[in-house]
């Protein structure tokens, strides 16, 4: 790996933060990152040629995640954000090839464990995330007395991709999944897939206004703020922001449209799209 020294000094680092997901879900994390760290540069990778990850096996998701991280590293990022819960279950390390790695599960689990008052948490995720028990194990590490139930909601991802984010059908599907809830008085729900914040309005309607919905995107920003403070990552204090770069492993006009809508709401930054290979 060669490093462009013009971007790096003792006190600042203008290299982008690398963020990846299988598809559009990670944009909910990117949106939060851009909004909370407006001085930083970002490079987003959507592995759209192989999405979704949620129905695939653990070794396959690990292999894809490593390929994605190696691609981001080849593009000179200063940190790696795994903006996909399924991928996060297979990336336990905090350092990869010398760079800090942030997965969405640790901060989501920590925030949920802190916020619950009655110590009853519901976790929603893909089949792969639920099967991994990553949230359950992590929440219990913070507080072993918490009761947790996890439910896989495989249709939420295609519903979000279809744009049916606030729709009576989505509401009915949610209600059908939630007939499996055996822990009726939970006060906190972990949105354990980065697509799910797109369905927030519907989910809040189904659960009621008193239930806290934990969004990985907001949770990860708290951890990053700390690491900027203790200089584990050096901030970009040059005052110069580059265009936002979005790399996709498969060309998709629909992705472009949706990312412009989602990201355009929080920044005026121009977006450059590029189709890439990560294999």
């Amino acid at each position: 790996m060669t490093t462009d020294l013009r971007n790096l000094s003792d006190s600042f680092d203008s290299r982008p933060i690398g963020v990846f997901d299988s598809g559009i879900g990670g944009l909910t994390v990117l949106r939060e990152l851009i909004s909370q760290f407006p001085n930083e540069n970002f490079l987003y990778l959507g592995d759209t040629a192989r999405l979704p990850y949620g129905s695939k096996s653990a070794p396959t998701v690990r292999k894809y995640s490593e390929q994605n991280m190696n691609f981001l590293i080849s593009r000179q990022v200063k940190a790696l954000v795994v903006a996909c819960n399924t991928a996060s279950t297979q990336v336990p390390e905090n350092i990869f090839c010398g760079l800090p790695v942030y997965n969405v599960i640790d901060p989501g689990a920590r925030l949920a464990a802190t916020q619950t008052k009655n110590k009853k948490i519901l976790v929603l995720g893909t089949r792969a995330t639920v099967k991994s028990e990553a949230y359950k194990n992590k929440i219990l590490m913070f507080d072993p007395e918490i009761q947790i139930q996890s439910i896989a909601c495989p249709l939420f991802v295609p519903l979000a991709e279809e744009g049916w984010v606030d729709d009576t059908i989505t509401e009915q599907i949610a209600k059908k999944y939630f007939t499996e809830i055996a822990l009726p008085d939970f006060d906190t729900v972990v949105l354990g897939c980065t697509h799910y914040p797109l369905l927030k309005t519907t989910l809040q309607k189904v659960f009621g206004a008193n239930i806290s919905l934990i969004d990985s995107g907001s949770a990860i920003c708290e951890i990053l703020k700390n690491d900027f403070k203790n200089l584990k990552i050096k901030p970009n204090t040059t005052g110069k922001q580059e265009n936002l770069k979005i790399c996709l492993t498969d060309f998709g006009p629909q992705f472009e449209l949706l990312s412009k809508q989602l990201i355009g709401a929080v920044t005026a930054r121009k977006i450059d799209f590029e189709t890439v290979s990560v294999i």
Copy 2:
């Protein structure tokens, strides 16, 4: 490519017919093939590490299809069946590396064009299949007077994979898609995705009993019957059937379960599963 000569003579060929799809959808075609050609051997490939194909770009789907066909050829098949409509839009050839290729679009289009009485056909498919206009172009080649409308139904695949095949929610989603129908008096519907026959009961309920639903699996068998007759493919007349072989690019217990249910209904043949790489 080396050929095992024990399997091949002037009058018979016991090599398997190779069938591929991205996932479980192609099993609806395989089920028909096994049921109509009980003497033949079959090798099925499900590219589950990269499913689904319906949301991916044309060049990516072509690349994946070629890799799948090359894999099947390396396993000594005697013919190739593209049991996926999206892949079929990118495999126009009838011969690949010297082997006959059968895609699902030609026979489906031919059957629909023959069956319609009022010359009004509705085509349902993935976003990629509808965008390709492959059915429309093919149907018009058979009869340029036919009126055709195509509608993309992206949620049908995850609904089928989820097993919600006869469910009021699936019915409502179908009705929501069908509000776009601008050709109200069609008499024939092409199920232009191999997953859709799994939703047949629901779709027949929504459309009414007088509408003909065209299933690619049944349609392709008519073409194969002809090619067995004219010896374009030699039949397996050895009287010996091997176990059914199902290769998957990603290990999946759910796939195994579903394929046993679907295929087990038409044959007592044992199924051997294998995880493979096609890259």
